[in-house]
């Protein structure tokens, strides 16, 4: 039996990257073998989150899972609430009032905006440009202020519920959203000068971390990762939910395929979210924001199964929910885009990469470990 040259202890260095490392997104690690500073093999490891979301959900009442599902993606929790609520609504035949649909779309876009601001800045952080990361976090905080006002919490909003949302918009909220959007928009050219028009950033990201267009089908890539390589997939357009069919927008797509292109896609997604939020704010109709639900502690969602999907900032995000007609879900399966992005795709992309680019590549996929280890 010959020695695998990729892991030959005489020729390679064996290192763990993460789980405690600022360059890793979330709680996961990558076990790597290096020949010099080139990666010869990479294996991803998850299991550091030890929460077991899907199993926990089978032990809780339908409504009690809302404070849990949002934790599957910390920076963008609303997609989880939305998917889970959509599935319950479909199974239980609950109608969502029109106003609630608009508010939900607003929340989803605000979440996407916050996530993309952080991810865009974070990409700069991985090449040593800490200012970009800080600015990204700061801009996101402006959006979190709005979330705090609307939902009562900055991160775990627990706002979208079956049948609508938990609270109506506070008085004067639309105006304050406009103010925040204007403020962010005014600062974005500065952001661009710092990151996109930066010689170092360009050197570290152009031609690196290439996602070949044929991999899109092979791996089932979605979101900015696929759209940076020429894909035009977007659930908001392909299978519109809530009120996306009433909004005017084009799917952002680029063909450069490298990290720099994905940063551009994310940057254009920020512009798109701002435009969509403005469109939503101009169209929210009057009316109730929630449909009355049965007694929550005795609520038996009718038996059935449903796969609900939405577009997250990282691509198609889905929940497969099975009910056996009892007080608790029989099975909930979460399909997050990070599963393919952070495991098979990352393992493949890292082969031949420079040790300094590992974090760079990983962050460009915006992976979210709880989606893998749910």
């Amino acid at each position: 039996m010959g020695v695998n040259p990729a892991t030959d202890p005489k020729k390679t260095t064996h290192l763990f990257f993460g789980p405690q490392h600022p360059g890793v997104t979330g709680n996961m690690s990558i076990e790597m073998w290096f020949d010099g500073d080139q990666v010869t093999k990479a294996i991803t490891h998850v299991g550091y989150l030890h929460r077991g979301f899907e199993k926990l959900m089978e032990k809780r009442l339908w409504i009690q899972n809302f404070p849990l599902v949002c934790r599957i993606c910390v920076p963008e929790p609303d997609i989880n609430e939305e998917c889970y609520a959509l599935a319950i609504e479909e199974l239980a035949g609950i109608e969502v009032p029109e106003r609630a649909k608009w508010i939900r779309t607003l929340v989803l876009e605000m979440g996407r905006l916050a996530m993309n601001l952080m991810a865009f800045g974070g990409q700069a952080g991985t090449v040593g440009l800490g200012t970009g990361a800080m600015w990204g976090i700061t801009f996101r905080d402006f959006v979190l202020d709005l979330f705090e006002e609307l939902t009562g919490a900055r991160v775990y909003h627990i706002y979208i519920q079956p049948g609508g949302v938990r609270r109506d918009l506070p008085r004067g909220f639309r105006k304050r959203v406009h103010l925040v959007l204007n403020k962010i928009e005014k600062r974005l050219p500065e952001f661009d000068r710092l990151i996109l028009n930066n010689a170092v950033f360009k050197l570290r990201t152009k031609g690196i971390g290439v996602v070949k267009p044929e991999w899109i089908e092979e791996y089932g890539l979605v979101g900015p990762v696929a759209r940076g390589s020429g894909s035009v997939r977007d659930v908001r357009k392909d299978a519109p939910y809530e009120i996306y069919d009433k909004l005017d927008f084009d799917v952002v797509t680029e063909t450069g395929s490298d990290i720099y292109t994905r940063a551009i896609v994310r940057r254009r997604d920020i512009d798109l979210s701002i435009s969509l939020i403005r469109q939503i704010l101009g169209g929210i109709p009057a009316g109730p924001v929630a449909t009355k639900l049965p007694n929550l502690t005795e609520w038996r969602v009718p038996a059935g199964e449903y796969y609900s999907r939405v577009e997250s900032s990282r691509g198609e995000y889905g929940y497969y929910v099975v009910s056996d007609g009892s007080l608790k879900p029989r099975r909930v399966h979460v399909r997050g885009p990070s599963y393919v992005h952070a495991v098979p795709l990352l393992e493949r992309m890292l082969i031949g990469a420079n040790i300094a680019d590992v974090s760079n590549i990983m962050v460009s996929l915006t992976t979210c470990p709880p989606e893998i280890e749910r």
Partner: protein, 589 residues
Amino acid sequence: MKFTDVISPFLAWSRAAKKADTIPYPTQQNPGADRYRGFHINDTSKCIGCGRCETICENKAIDMVKVEGIEPTKGDSGLRPVVDYGRCCWCGLCIDVCSTGSLAFTNEYRWVTEKPDTCRYTPGVDKKAWDNEEKGYRQENDVLGWAGSPREEMTIEVPEERIKTFDEVVKGYTVQQAMDEASRCIQCGLCISACPAHMHIPDYLKAIAEGRFVDAVKLFYDNNPLPEMCGKVCTRQCETVCAMGYQGESIAIRWLKRFACEQFESLADVLALDAQPGEPNGKKVAVVGAGPSGLSAAYYLSRKGYEVHVFDRYEKGGGVAWYAIPEYRLPAEGISKQMEVFEQAGVIMNYGKEINAAMLKKLESEFDAVYLAVGLQKPSSARIEGEDLPGVKPAFDFLVSSPEKGEGLKGKTVIVIGGGNVAMDTARTCVRLGAEVILSYRRRVEDMPADDEEIHEAMEEAIDFRVKTIPIRIEKTKNGIRYLYHEAKMIPNPKGGRPSPKPKDDVEHAIDADILFSAIGQTSDIEFIPESMQKEMELKWGRIIVDDKQYTGYKNFFAGGDITPGEGDAITAIADGLRAVQGIIDRLE
């Protein structure tokens, strides 16, 4: 590479001269948003300790504990939520489902303490810095409707149709309606303490919600042998304390009990082995009166192995429920269905036997214990002139006489005096018999002791309510009688309670009528108890005073129901019977 790409990142330094976006803590501190989900507060005077916050909390961060100074009362468990901030995730489900809306979040989120133990505290009881904070996440039940919901609507016959017959007014729930209504129950159990018989209400509501109707009936019979009757005419004290009633409508516990019983043609068959006589223990108990109290004592004693003989002056059992409540409220077939269960349980019925002093003496010697549950037999007097005129009759006697079988009252004018259920029953029965009915009551409508539904339905049936009218006298006229009254003004009662009516002026108002029914209550008739016995018992206003196990103090004599002071309703009478069973067992063993 472009030269500008080298220069442009350095433009970020221009930020150094501008105001920072970050907040310089602690010199500047941001309060939480108006709706921020910060620390808990609880208005303990509003909180009823239903424990719904504890049930909904997915992190088990809330425990309901006994708080010193807050005693359990009817409708308040005396427990209050303790929040553990080692577990809480501030999701706010507890706030949104709080049945009274007492629990809330403040927008305070900063708390530094050296004592970790204080992070588990009772909001509203343990004093905290944010107790008076006015902002924060508050319940908006009008938006969500999680804290209280409307009741499943009961089908009730329209007034124009129902006054034509003696058919039941309430049509009952469909299976789906009943299951939906029962599933509104939050299982807090506050109703159990309010029900005099302490029925297993949350359990049987759950059984109904899950479609287990046989189980529900068996649960009824655990401490109420007349569930169908209670399902129709109970005063439902349980519903008055229902946690769902605070921000919605209380659960229709009474209608659900009725629904479950109506699902079966024979309750005896449903109960089968659960309603058989117990292993005979050789002891005999006599029960005087086959009303709710007597029957409940008889049923449970028989189930314990006692030989029970029930004596009643009427030809059928059921007491007031049977012979005085009109058909449109409580049809006769429901009563006979329930009476079968007593026979199956081995209770020996002796109908048509009025007990007098001599017979009671005989019972005393022949039986190990005697339970007196004779109710109130004698109509009260209005103490006004003309009460003995031929057109003036006691309403109670009229109801007992099965008026629906007699000749109608078409074209006649009837006056009913009183504001209780007997007055309503009489007035509504007369309407069905074709009479024009005027109801005279001394106080206001809201002071009437009758059930709200009865009053409401009576009003719908075009009964002329003359409230605030004080009777003066009744005069004889050529064709009938003339009822004279003063209009009253209400003098508030300084001690609280109902106001007292006083004549507004000296003007005498008159109504001419054919018949006047007096329905101002009944009093006891204890002439059947020999004086020697009466001396040994404690009596107050003709009623027998008993201890907490219905013991009269005389030999092995027990008493319950309306002959003892109490609420005067069927469920209280049933509860008396249950207590008497325990008293008799204790005394005889």
